[in-house]
């Protein structure tokens, strides 16, 4: 076992770190730039452009498409180094991580070439129109209809939880094209210009107070058949391609409250008897328990990285990462806020430890739902890793319009 980079990996890391040190600080979001503000979008695009010009966008994409032809591990190394800075990069995560790989896999060569460059340079933002009010975990139950009309499709329906739709230029959209067959068999995927007539985006305010996701209403939106991704009624297979890319995101999650903050907090707070809170047995016990999970997640990432460095996919254990992470963050933040007693009541919007804790705590419920709920992830582990029977699905073989 060896925690060090191979000489080749170390060279790449050194190069990346030097480049970031020279460029990233200028693109760090200061306290005056609120997430999701217009200034934040500008900064996000500017940072993406600089990365693209220096050859740090699309690191793992093939060269013939404008990528760098690097390994998955190169991608991970860049991500790890980039995370040392407060640079805004989430705006492009859905597009670069999920939409564009789907476009690359299914769109025509001309279309692919049309989209890859602007996406890499941060000139165009993409979103993913998948979930609906009545179809979340059971995504194949979507109701947005696409009806063929000559060379076009007419799309009607409502999508929801669409991150950054309000800033997006393009989307991939999953629709129902054949309601008279079982639900998975009647879906078709398209790409869509978000400025098409009939597309209306309404931001939704999250529990955390931010407005980074949206409802998207599609009313008689016309999509040319040439924008279809994959065969008619083969949309489920296409969607699985998209979601598979979601699982490959193994980088360390962005800044959140961790063990270090809790230790600092427990050192700074005095008990009734004048001692440090850090010396209280119950506090130490909690710190140890959160450390086991927190560091355990780091070790899961290292195992995935080991697999990637050998050119192998991450092992099945990678599937527990988000499940453990979301709940651990929620519990850890709640524990730390509790230590502060009434000191944690007032919301702090500067970048204090308190504000990080409050943000972590109020974001955690979303994290436990997004990208697979705790419950769905446990099902996936039980079925795909441990080989337990699939759940009973009464609708599995029933035509969608007879359910």
């Amino acid at each position: 076992m060896d925690f060090n980079d191979s000489p080749e990996e170390a060279r790449y890391r050194t190069k990346v770190a030097a480049w970031l040190a020279a460029h990233a600080p200028r693109f760090e979001a200061g306290p005056d730039i609120k997430p999701n503000s217009a200034a934040w979008v500008r900064l996000s695009k500017a940072w993406q452009k600089v990365k693209a010009e220096a050859g740090y966008a699309g690191i793992t994409w093939p060269r013939e498409l404008g990528g760098q032809g690097g390994s998955m591990l190169d991608g991970v190394i860049f991500q790890q180094e980039e995370q040392r800075y407060r640079v805004p990069n989430v705006l492009f995560q859905v597009g670069m991580g999920m939409c564009l790989p789907t476009v690359i896999a299914y769109a025509s060569r001309e279309q692919t070439q049309r989209f890859v460059g602007p996406a890499l340079r941060g000139e165009e933002v993409w979103c993913q129109l998948f979930s609906e009010p009545a179809a979340g975990s059971d995504l194949a139950g979507i109701r947005t209809r696409a009806v063929r009309d000559g060379d076009e499709w007419i799309v009607n329906g409502q999508k929801v939880w669409t991150s950054y739709a309000q800033y997006s230029d393009f989307a991939i959209v999953l629709t129902r094209t054949e309601p008279s067959v079982p639900k998975h068999a009647g879906l078709t995927m398209f790409w869509l210009d978000m400025r098409s007539p009939g597309v209306e985006v309404r931001p939704i305010r999250t529990l955390a107070g931010d407005e980074d996701f949206n409802e998207v209403f599609l009313s008689d939106v016309r999509i040319p058949d040439s924008q279809r991704l994959g065969a008619v009624n083969a949309g489920w297979k296409v969607a699985l391609t998209t979601l598979m890319h979601e699982r490959l995101a193994i980088g360390k999650p962005p800044e959140h409250a961790g063990i270090e903050q809790i230790i600092a907090l427990a050192k700074s707070i005095r008990t009734e008897s004048g001692g440090m809170l850090l010396d209280a047995a119950d506090v130490r016990d909690s710190i140890a328990r959160y450390y086991v999970n927190d560091a355990g997640l780091d070790f899961l990432r290292m195992r995935a990285q080991t697999a990637l460095s050998k050119g192998l996919p991450p092992g099945p254990e990678a599937s527990i990462g988000k499940l453990v992470m979301a709940k651990t963050r929620q519990d850890l933040a709640a524990f730390a806020l509790d230590l502060l007693e009434s000191g944690a009541i007032i919301e702090d919007d500067d970048r204090s430890v308190l504000s990080t804790l409050q943000q972590t705590y109020f974001w955690a419920p979303g994290l436990r739902i997004a990208g697979g709920t705790d419950e769905i992830l446990r099902n996936i582990v039980a079925e795909r890793v441990l080989g337990l029977p699939a759940d009973y699905r009464p609708d599995k073989d029933v035509p969608f319009n007879q359910q």
Binding site: N4, E9, I263, G296, L323, P389
Partner: protein
């Protein structure tokens, strides 16, 4: 980044799995015979080199390393192998190898060849391995009693005791257990497979291990090493308990379907898996820290110990729950894993001890 065992180490694991299969059945045979261990299996373990693995070639060993010991510990834990590998090869041999001095030259070749078995005899009824001993050594002769001592049929034991030369501290000593001055009285332990006894010494000639007054330091280091190796043993046991429960959930039917089709059952098994995989990462980190002698060893050992103890206890307890009534019987292998998980949780220091070590290490950074 290379955070996994090498191909050679995985090949060793496969050999071990073949050798140690039917572990629970072997355990029952040993219990029925009232024997100290499975002598035929022990002979095979010696032939495969398990006792010689971490001993230097100059002392008759194979000169392999900590990583191989970790693989051995994991597989022994998985199979509940009824042989004194943990006491002898994982705990006692390690301290003799590191600090044995002249005693090492004498004992290591015999331990490597499987001609001798070693164990540790540090506790005196309550507390952890690092409790200050009441046993005393006067003029090179040990008196006092140690309990509980695992695998007391061993030929030699590492014993903690105080002597005048140790000042305020204490020392470690190597004591022959077959000497006429030693009395071994069997006790019934929570784990019926790993035998235990009270061992009484009455002016038993002993040889010092390490330096005068150094006992506490040696035990500290020994506990870090033992915690990591035990964590691998716990990891193997936890995985065995999980798979036993999984297999039962697939096979047992209730209300017209396998119980494993119910989400309450599936989710519990997924949670067992998650804890085990988190513990596995900590174990790997511990193995690395021990192997390279990292300054992070105290943190790595404590993390591995806490994660693996929790994973094994949780897996063993919930495996019984998923088996229902049959899991609560003496004849179910669930009982063997629960009893082993309890034994390993009690040995090598409590949650409290390791929590304290861990937080101290985290704060010191």
């Amino acid at each position: 980044m290379n955070f996994q065992f090498s191909n050679e180490q995985e090949a060793l694991r496969e050999q071990l799995q073949r050798l140690l299969k039917d572990g629970p059945a072997r355990c029952r045979a040993v219990m029925a015979a009232g024997d100290s261990h499975d002598r035929a299996l022990w002979k095979s373990c010696v032939e495969l080199g398990l006792t010689a693995a971490a001993i230097p070639e100059a002392d008759g060993g194979l000169g392999l390393g900590v990583m191989e010991l970790c693989v051995i510990a994991e597989e022994v834990g998985r199979a509940l192998a009824p042989v004194p590998i943990a006491s002898s090869a994982l705990y006692a041999t390690e301290i003799i190898r590191r600090h044995g001095g002249e005693a090492a030259a004498l004992w290591l070749p015999r331990l490597a060849a499987g001609e001798a078995i070693a164990t540790v005899a540090l506790t005196e009824g309550t507390g952890s391995w690092d409790a200050v001993p009441s046993a005393v050594v006067v003029d090179g002769k040990l008196s006092g009693s140690k309990l509980p001592v695992s695998d007391p049929h061993a030929d030699v034991a590492i014993v903690s005791a105080r002597s005048e030369e140790d000042g305020r501290g204490y020392g470690l000593w190597l004591a022959p257990l077959d000497h006429r001055s030693v009395v071994r009285r069997s006790v019934v332990a929570v784990d019926r497979i790993r035998r235990h006894a009270v061992v009484e010494f009455a002016a038993t000639p002993v040889v010092r291990i390490g330096k005068q007054g150094e006992g506490a330091n040696l035990v500290d280091g020994m506990m870090d090493s033992a915690a990591i190796l035990t964590a691998f043993e716990q990891l193997g046991g936890a995985e065995a308990a999980l798979l036993m429960a999984r297999d039962y959930a697939l096979q047992r039917k209730a209300f017209g379907k396998p119980i494993g089709a119910n989400q309450a059952v599936k989710h519990k098994l997924a949670d067992m898996y998650a804890r085990i995989e988190l513990a596995r990462g900590h174990c790997y980190y511990g193995a690395w820290a021990l192997d390279v002698g990292s300054a992070e060893l105290p943190r790595a050992a404590a993390g591995a110990r806490l994660a693996a103890t929790d994973a094994f206890v949780f897996a063993a307890e919930e495996a019984i729950q998923l088996h229902g009534g049959i899991g609560f019987t003496w004849e179910s292998d669930c009982s063997l894993y629960l009893r082993r998980s309890r034994l390993l949780a009690q040995m090598v220091g409590s949650r409290r001890r390791w929590t304290s070590r861990l937080v101290n290490a985290l704060v010191a950074v």
